[in-house]
Amino acid sequence: MKVTLEVNGAPRTVECSPWKRLLDVLREDLRLTGTKEGCGEGECGACTVVLDGEAVNSCLVAIGQCDTRRVTTVEGLARGEALHAVQRALVACGGAQCGICTPGIAVCAANVVERGLIGDTDDATARARVRELLAGNICRCTGYQLIVDAVIAAAREIEGGAARQAEQRIDPV
């Protein structure tokens, strides 16, 4: 079937089986290989993309379901040369090691901070909240300490003003 979806702000059309995974369409048809396949079972979060405003596992989405939908991948986080606040924070804090889980973590974290899900709380609460919100993104090299540091730094930068507006921008389809 023919599917037209918006990927990182641009309309893209693919012709394929509706059963093909969004993950495979992104990587094979659209050559957006920033999105990684980890487990293929929705356990690890490496393939996280934002679909209609919500972080999802792209290995569990059938492309047939994506016609007219909006997708943001890790390639869509930066604005030109300017990295997203989450990406800058991951770099600054050293929140990465081998890198296979990093795109999924960056996308999930960006979604979480843009939606204002961490909230304006004390540090201990914010840390617990980040760990819960990113529980679906598994890193097998390093600890989560520096990743949590980065997400909190980005949240402190973004949440407050822009975050509230971001949540309102998410329209149900």
């Binding site: 509706p18 293929g40 929705g42 972080a55 596992n57 569990l60 059938a62 999930c108 529980a135």
Partner: protein, 276 residues
Amino acid sequence: MTGYVRPRDLDEALATRAAHPDWMMLAGGTDLMVNAPHREAPAGILDLWRLPAIDFVRVSDEVIAIGAGTTWHDVERHPVIRARMRPLAAAAREIGALQIQARATLGGNVGTSSPVGDSLPVLLALDAELEVASVRGRRRVPYRQWCTGYRTTQLLPDELILCAHLPVPGPATRTTWRKIGTRRAQSISKVMGAAAITLDGDLVTCARVALGAVAERPIRVTAVEDAVRGQRLGQAAEAARAAVRAAIRPIDDVRSTAAYRREVAENLVARFFSMA
């Protein structure tokens, strides 16, 4: 060639279901898409994602109706469910993680009917009733009669699950839910339990107790319910423990052992009836 229909409304969904009973009913895909490339493509996909007729939460004084297409994220965030059906909101918050909760639906849990479906003991403890529909009409099924065996249900080949009707527990009824697994997020539970316990002071007048992951389907443990009726909290905990011991026959598998599951299930249910 895999067929595909995204119905505009319930009538089109039911007509498609009747015409293609062999097609996959797909909502969020968090179960059905697992390892998709390594499995045979379905004959067709009936796409139920965000179909408005099954994507709702309707609240009245006595009953909350939750559409089968409602995501766990929406359940967890619903203010009335959080206030009046805490165990369901709590279960929703521990299903997978953020990415899964954004896509997984109540109807998916109920339709897949896995013995380890996280929400299913809660639906049993809350005495849910399911409403299903086909081109022939609608019918209601008490949830406790829904599961017929390992991943099998009463759903007929031309039917869709519309919603669950959940009676709101009264002020004298306390409800609770707990799951035990390797970690809270993502991992499949070793044991889970839910209960709705109606009290007169500290006297148990009535209880519904349900367990998951200890049988081929989620179960109500009526032996416990009978054992605790008329007992005081505390005493009831010991009676419940003994009743669980006699009632369940969990298995060894990759996630846990029968012995561990039995001991944890006893502790879990006993805790439901302890003083605190």
